[in-house]
């Protein structure tokens, strides 16, 4: 053996997040510095997929110690190599610090962000080099495929997947094994396996991370599926906006073909499986399975009514099994470790883990994988580190633009497919947006509605027109023009969209508004009946005043006001001219004495014109 043994592995995340914060040049600098110090025979620099903590990127992890360095820049590289790789010392200034407590946590496995996580689907992401099939194999990769092809019948495989209780990770949570069985039983010689990697939910990037960080797990899962449903051809439908994912997947397919793990007669079993990539243009509706299939066929990406389901009549009219990236990625481990192992993780009816893209008003944002059944409080406070700037938690939206929100009373909810649905939110694709007290829930639901209605394909009326009408109503409400009938109208439109839309896009578009109404109806009423936005965000309903008691007459607000509607000289109480104010919030931000008062639905008493500081009310 001529391959040297490396005492240290330096893993640099080159996921899309870290890449955009400069991981590429950090890698080059690291390789250069390692060579300059002639360490290349002992230290290996490896590019990996996403670690989930993208906000702290570029992330560099040094093994065997498991040292976790964040926000590493090229200027840090020389010292990093000197201190850590030569002298074995921790470079304190690159170590992660817990927000608030400022406690330094140098080791990967002790960082609170990771402590409550359980990485199963993402087990290889950030740990192996995704461009090396050998590293995947070193972690047990393709053993499940080998086992399936040499020891199991296709019925055995389906039974095993059914027994694991795996539910589809694409949103609806349908039992994966059962779906496979439908496809397997459907009559026909030619069948297809499709992987849905469209990932249209804005802000979600778990599927991308898997394709970028562990592409072979998806390939292996799809090949196993092909064997059990009787298909020798698969398609991965991935949006073209994911160039790195596509590149790594393509490379992985080539490597698997070279090893004979894709192609004809895999493992000498006679079973063959071929995989192709189909790039999508990135329309949200193309994530819906019938639209996706139409798009692969080269047709316009529009959904069609189901049944027939793709399992019976899918791609080119043939029986087709479609699953999400994460669903496939879980399969090899279920086969390797057994259905019981998987079923024991999570909750009885939702076994396994959930992956969320945690964003919004939390200290630590990123991609997390947690066992089903964990509470929202644990996710938001223990992993997410709580709400920044001492603000109050207000709501959390799960399931993306077709999901729903939950208020503080839902924080102790144990998250799984069913509990979320009962509470009016959904698991969906795994988006999780946390908002604080400064978010207006009418505005918040309007944001999702704007997205969903813009992405309507227009084929069916309830979705196309219903979405627009609802958006008009919400816009009116946020502008202070709402009427008492609006709420009933929203509810009526929602009912129609839910029952009459062609696909789940239209059916679920009212979700965010309905859940906001369920938990925050008072806020809607305040807008409509009192012209008041409780979160003080809707500009037509707020006003700014200079508090005559607090103002010291420093003139800062007057100087900074972009429309010059503030009156007053030095040492005089300043006055905002209400008619000209554009509610830009500048004075509120710049006043060094917190003398600017922001009000919605009320006013305070101020002098008619500037008077000397201290003389008000005397």
């Amino acid at each position: 053996m001529s391959e040297p043994i490396y005492r240290a592995n330096v893993l640099v995340c080159t996921g899309t997040g870290c890449d955009s914060s400069g991981a590429g040049s950090v890698i080059d600098a690291l390789r250069g510095e390692v060579e300059r110090r002639e360490l290349q025979g002992e230290v290996r620099v490896i590019e990996t997929g996403c670690r989930g903590f993208c906000a702290m990127g570029p992330i560099v992890i040094v093994y065997p110690e498991g040292l976790f360095y964040c926000q590493v820049q090229t200027t840090d590289v020389e010292e990093l190599v000197e201190e850590t790789l030569v002298k074995g010392r921790i470079l304190q200034r690159l170590v992660f610090e817990v927000p608030h407590s400022q406690q330094a946590v140098p080791f990967y496995d002790e960082i609170p962000f990771y402590e409550k996580q359980q990485r199963i689907t993402l087990r290889n992401c950030g740990v192996i080099d995704p461009e090396s099939i050998d590293e995947y194999i070193a972690r047990g990769g393709y053993e499940a495929l080998g086992k399936v092809l040499s020891e199991m019948s296709s019925e055995d495989v389906i039974e095993e997947v059914k027994a694991s209780g795996l539910r589809g990770r694409g949103g609806a949570g349908f039992l994966t094994g059962l779906k496979w069985e439908f496809t397997a039983r459907a009559p026909g010689d030619v069948k297809y396996v499709v992987c849905n990697a469209d990932e249209g939910d804005p802000g979600a990037f778990m599927d991308r991370s898997i394709l970028e960080g562990d592409p072979h797990s998806v390939i292996e899962g799809m090949a196993i599926c092909g064997y059990s449903v009787g298909s020798s051809e698969g398609y991965v439908y991935c949006r073209a906006e994911y160039p790195l994912a596509i590149k790594r997947l393509r490379l992985a397919i080539e490597q698997a073909e070279e090893y004979g793990l894709l192609g004809d007669d895999i493992f000498g079993s006679g079973f063959g499986f071929h995989l192709k990539i189909k790039e999508g243009a990135g329309a949200f509706v193309c994530g819906e399975e019938t639209a996706l299939i139409a798009s692969i066929e080269g047709k316009r990406g529009e959904p069609r009514p189901r049944p027939p389901f793709p399992a019976v009549s899918g791609l080119w009219g043939k029986p087709t099994n479609n699953n999400n990236v994460k669903s496939y990625a879980n399969v090899p481990q279920i086969i390797r470790n057994g259905a019981e192992w998987f079923a024991a993780i999570g909750t009885p009816r939702s076994p396994g883990t959930a992956i969320f893209a945690l964003t919004g008003k939390v200290e630590n944002t990123g991609l997390i994988e947690v066992p089903m059944g964990i509470t929202l409080r644990e996710i938001i406070y223990d992993i997410g580190g709580g709400i920044p700037d001492g603000k109050e938690f207000k709501a959390v939206q799960t399931g993306g633009p077709l999901g729903g929100c939950l208020p503080a009373s839902g924080l102790d909810l144990q998250v799984d497919f069913d509990s979320l649905r009962q509470a009016g939110a959904v698991m969906g694709s795994g988006g999780m947006i946390v908002v604080d007290e400064e978010t207006c829930m009418v505005e918040f639901s309007k944001y999702f509605l704007t997205f969903a209605s813009a992405e309507s394909c227009g084929k069916c009326v309830p979705c196309r027109v219903g979405g627009r009408r609802m958006l008009e109503i919400l816009t009116r409400i946020t502008e202070g023009e709402g009427t008492p009938e609006d709420i009933d109208q929203i509810k009526e439109i929602a009912k129609g969209m839910d029952s009459d839309s062609l696909c789940a896009l239209g059916q679920l578009t009212p979700g965010p508004i309905m859940s906001a109404l369920r938990y925050f109806e008072d806020e809607f009423h305040a807008h409509i009946n009192e012209d008041r936005c409780p979160a003080k965000q809707c500009v037509n309903m707020i006003s700014y005043y200079v508090s005559p008691e607090t103002c010291v007459g420093c003139g800062m607000c007057k100087r900074e006001c972009p429309v010059q509607v503030i009156d007053g000289e030095r040492r005089m109480i300043h006055i905002i001219n209400q008619d000209g104010c554009i509610k830009c919030n500048t004075c509120f931000e710049v006043c060094p004495f917190d003398a600017i008062v922001k009000l919605s639905g009320g006013e305070i008493e101020v002098p008619e014109e500037p008077i000397p500081v201290g003389s008000f009310g005397k």
Partner: protein, 125 residues
């Protein structure tokens, strides 16, 4: 690349490539080489290379890491061996030619090379 035609062949390949990622696992055994300025000056780099070479030759499952100066500069190069459940043993003045014997006796035969020992550290001290 050769095609993999059976589960056996896959497992053989796995054994071969597993070592590549072994530093990313806890092997239970760590060899720690003192790499302060003092260590480097007295030849710790060469000692480490010799240790790595020996580990490779014997295809052993151990992690090799470095550590800064620990204040026994006259005993450099210092090499510590840490095994799960056993006290950490520090060896002093380890030159490259001593590496094979150190590894053979301590790690393969499980016997501490008493004459080279300069200290012992109980776990969790």
């Amino acid at each position: 690349m050769a095609q993999i035609k059976s589960l056996e062949e896959l497992r053989r390949l796995r054994e071969r490539v597993e070592r590549d990622i072994s530093t990313r696992r806890d092997t239970g055994t760590t060899i720690i080489v003192g790499m302060g300025t003092c260590g480097i000056a007295s030849g710790a780099r060469e000692t480490m290379r010799a240790i790595l070479e020996e580990v490779r030759r014997r295809d052993m499952d151990v992690n090799v890491t470095t550590v800064g100066c620990i204040g026994m500069c006259n005993k450099e190069p210092l090499v510590d061996i840490e095994q799960a459940g056993k006290p950490r043993v520090s060896y002093g003045n380890i030159t490259p030619d001593m590496a094979p014997r150190l590894i053979e006796e301590h790690l393969v035969n499980g016997q501490v090379v008493e004459e080279w020992v300069v200290g012992r550290l109980q776990e969790d001290e």
